[in-house]
């Protein structure tokens, strides 16, 4: 039970990923399929980002008193950090590397989504429908695949 509690992020993210995968597999409608793919993709982002969390950490933006060689004004501009809790202790940051990976993945994801939606619009121009099984039927009836019969 403790294991499940310590890994609750993985357990829930697996459920979310499988929900997205189920939508991709089970629906015939191409736009709903793409929404399922999007849900799946966002769940993978959640998996990566939840791996990078350090409990008690703060966002990976370096504390101003940790910065060396910074061009910030020595006085004025900002006041000294009022909270004394961090003064002695070393500041703990969450892991920035998965954040960078996922930032790239989000932008690439929306690019592929746009291409997929453009393909769906083209499919609709040719077949008049975006349901997978109806497209298969039309393919068979009109012999669009060019199979000799």
């Amino acid at each position: 039970m403790t294991a499940i509690f310590e890994h609750f992020n993985f357990v829930v993210v697996i459920v979310l990923m499988m929900t997205g995968l189920f939508v991709v597999f089970a629906t015939q409608n191409m736009i709903k399929k793409l929404v399922g793919l999007s849900v799946f993709q966002t769940s993978v982002f959640l998996l990566y980002i939840s791996l990078s969390k350090v409990s008690g950490g703060q966002p990976p933006i370096i504390d101003k008193k940790d910065l060396h060689g910074a061009s910030y004004p020595a006085d004025g501009g900002y006041d000294a950090a009022p909270d004394s809790a961090y003064q002695a202790a070393e500041v703990l940051y969450s892991n920035p590397l998965p954040h960078v990976l996922i930032l790239t993945a989000i932008v690439v994801g929306v690019a592929t989504l746009a291409i997929g939606l453009a393909l769906v619009v083209r499919v609709r121009e040719v077949y008049g429908t975006i349901e997978d099984d109806e497209i298969n039927k039309i393919d068979y009836n009109e012999n669009l695949e060019g199979v000799a019969r």
Binding site: E6, L51, V110, R122, N141
Partner: protein, 208 residues
Amino acid sequence: MMEGFTPILLLDMGLLAMLVVVAFAVVRLRSLFAIVMLQGVYSLLSAAWFVSLDAVDVAFTEAAVGAGISTVLMLGAMLLTEREAKPVPFQKQLGPLFIVTIVALAMFYAVGDMPAFGDALSPANSYVGADYIAATKNDIILPNVVTAVLASYRSFDTFGEVVVVYMAGLGILLLLGLNGNAGKWRAKPNGQNITGRKNTAEQREDKP
């Protein structure tokens, strides 16, 4: 582990519960408008969880790109195509359900080997990430480590990402064209007039 029960953990679990509800609603619904809007809600909820997970840069990118641009693109595609998804018969859902269950069980089996949530000493958090934080303090004047890695240490990666976005834009132009006729034009493959869903049944009856 119960002594680690904090309000933040409660917030995490609340956001995850809402994500599960939204994902299940996407499975159940048939109106494409509702599905697309729920996808936007899903992205926004995950962006909220990213803030709780200290990934502020990812959070505002997800809120802008995932909840904003993706939703607009999907609404546009929906307007050019259809408004409602056809219901899927139950027996056609059993196969996907079986596959998804098997994959989920395999992944649950592996969960025990993963590091605990928030573990500072996990392999993922120990070596390279810590090195980047340490190096950024001395190398780069920006305090934001994510920006430093994205734009300096791994700038070729980011350049590749820009190329991917350019290629996607080019691909959409080639697929849909610039004449503003996308979605309204009817193609005639092999000179045949395919009229779509309404006439599919009678066409099928014509042919043996």
